[in-house]
Symmetry: C2
Subunit: 356 residues, 2 copies
């Protein structure tokens, strides 16, 4: 997900501290009288949404952007120049916020990021310095859930495979395409019932699927059956949907044993992270008919996808695009602006990251 954010957003500076391609001197804005009295927010990289929707929707009368990416100065010099005025950092485009950067900006009290993940932010250092952090909250959850459901319908009803069949001109030649399988009544096991998993469950209930789940612990407010053991969940499911995050505990959690428990009619959907599944074992299972199909948005070594999968009609392959739509990119930047405005109005942050 982070790699995607990093690569999706246009960026004129790849790494601290050198900034190529100067466009406008940073002092240009500072001289504009209308922004002189507004608090300054450091924008290290240019958000892709500025190109997609223009900059206007993301401006505010509560603060003024300091655009490091438009400056000719090396980043450290740019930061030193604005050490006193920068009150917040808007880390778009996956721009890292390191202890080094924070040290150069002693007046910063807020870091806002446009991702759910925080791998690129030194959150510990932020909290040590009393710097609040706000993230994307659940803005991306619906898109990921939509994609998970889309992949499941596609695999069960053979939509992409039948689409290829029609495009190859085979319908008039071969006749009917093999029947798919019905969604209603399928036992769907959700691995990780966080905000994405919950959105998946909500959608699949409307199709008549029977939901159960596995997660670190049982959720008291949830009535779906809970399986503390993912293998047991697999044994009691027709479909496994991987919605959890990647941690030491979840790395290769979906292994040969789990896939065998899912069985020959079982389907795996992965919108979490590639390494949650033991990919080699999954490919073997698919090739040998040990499971029935897969819908995969993520892979162990992106953008490399095991070539063996290309020949399989019961597999749908998506290039890590579950998390993004144009709408959610816009929404997440609007949320970042709203967090900044709340901060400068002394109101609570909308999507604060807790220090735990």
């Amino acid at each position: 997900m982070l790699a995607k954010i990093l690569s999706l957003w246009s960026s004129s500076t790849a790494s601290f501290p050198k900034i190529p391609k100067p466009v406008i001197m940073a002092t240009h804005q500072e001289n504009q009288s209308q922004t002189r009295n507004l608090p300054h927010v450091l924008l290290i990289r240019k958000p892709a949404v500025f190109d997609m929707f223009g900059e206007q929707p993301f401006t505010s009368n509560k603060f003024h952007y300091l655009k490091a990416y438009e400056s000719t100065l090396p980043l450290d010099q740019f930061l030193t120049t604005h050490a006193e005025s920068a009150k917040a950092i808007f880390s778009s485009a996956g721009a890292p916020v390191t202890a080094e950067i924070l040290q150069l900006l002693p007046k910063v009290r807020l870091v806002v990021v446009t991702s759910a993940g925080l791998n690129h932010i030194d959150v510990g250092e932020c909290h040590r310095r009393g710097v609040a952090v706000a993230n994307a909250g659940n803005v991306f959850s619906e898109d990921v859930a939509d994609c998970a459901v889309g992949l499941l319908i596609d695999v069960l009803r053979k939509i992409s495979a039948a689409n290829r069949f029609v495009r190859q001109g085979l319908w008039p030649v071969n006749g009917e395409y093999p029947l798919g399988s019905k969604l209603g009544g399928k036992r769907v096991g959700i691995v990780g019932l966080g905000s994405i998993g919950s959105e998946v469950a909500k959608r699949l209930e409307s199709f008549g699927c029977c939901i159960s789940y596995n997660s670190r612990k049982k959720k008291p407010s949830i009535t779906y059956p809970f399986y503390p053991d993912v293998c047991e969940l697999a044994a009691n499911s027709d479909v496994l949907i991987i919605c959890c995050g990647l941690t030491h505990e979840t790395h290769h959690m979906i292994n040969k044993q789990v896939l065998s428990a899912l069985g020959k009619k079982g389907i795996v959907i992965n919108v979490g992270r590639g390494p949650i599944i033991d990919e080699k074992e999954m490919v073997k299972c698919l090739l040998q008919g040990e499971i029935a199909g897969a819908g995969l948005d993520v892979f162990e070594n992106e953008p490399d996808v095991p070539k063996d999968l290309f020949a399989l009609d019961n597999v749908v392959l998506s290039p890590h695009s579950a998390v993004f739509t144009a709408e959610s990119l816009k929404e997440v930047c609007e949320l970042a602006v709203a967090n900044l405005e709340a901060f400068f109005s002394n109101l609570p942050l909308l999507t604060p990251v807790r220090d735990d």
Copy 2:
């Protein structure tokens, strides 16, 4: 839909009255003592489910099948032989039930079919003779609705197109695939809010779509906004989903004017019948960017699909397979058996076809 049913089911006899490929003499079953006293149900063609799931799930202690397809006799002779014993007809595999057949079976009081459509049944003649008719009811509605939603997610989120992109090995070469568009908040106009349209609406509500509809008349129990004019519905929708039947009124109802009203960002999904859309105009609109995309399960001249569509990445093509899954084929035959059992128990039919 009917053509699909006709072609999907295996059949040893294509048309009245000749029956090739003899297997077992019809009198074989009649001699079996356990079935001697049960009422007889004529089975003209062999249901595909007998091969898929075995015959056992579709047998009953309330009646006995007369399998015309296992007899060496020409159909008319077979019918004459069983003129007195046949009390009902199970028209599977799209086997026609004509006035001629009904005349040969004066004791028949029920015809059960495994389709929603009745084009192959002389319903008028049935009702003139006091023969009740039962059909598939809404068994297929959920499958069609699932497919409609699958096609919509696929078009909006570019699933099939991105799948091709990955399979062609382009991900490591070209980088990210273009962003898709979010389902939530989309204004979805449903054309025909019968049992299929209602199932589509139910599903899309869980994705946060805003539903409105067009149909012959406003439905008093439905709170979704109603547009009596399909053009006005299109003008107020991001997506049109065609779920209505094909009639004189709906033929080419989705014409150039409606597509223009839908607009450059609009998407059409068709799970109704091909000729409801003016296909030539739709292809033109897609080629010229007058609409944004389409998900099509049905076409004007199936199995022929306009070749111009094969080059478009914003189009998903499905070979008229929305209506069928293995599960619904089984379910519809179980429903047929349940209708027969109700009939022979003097109970009301589950899915009677009214005489109107």
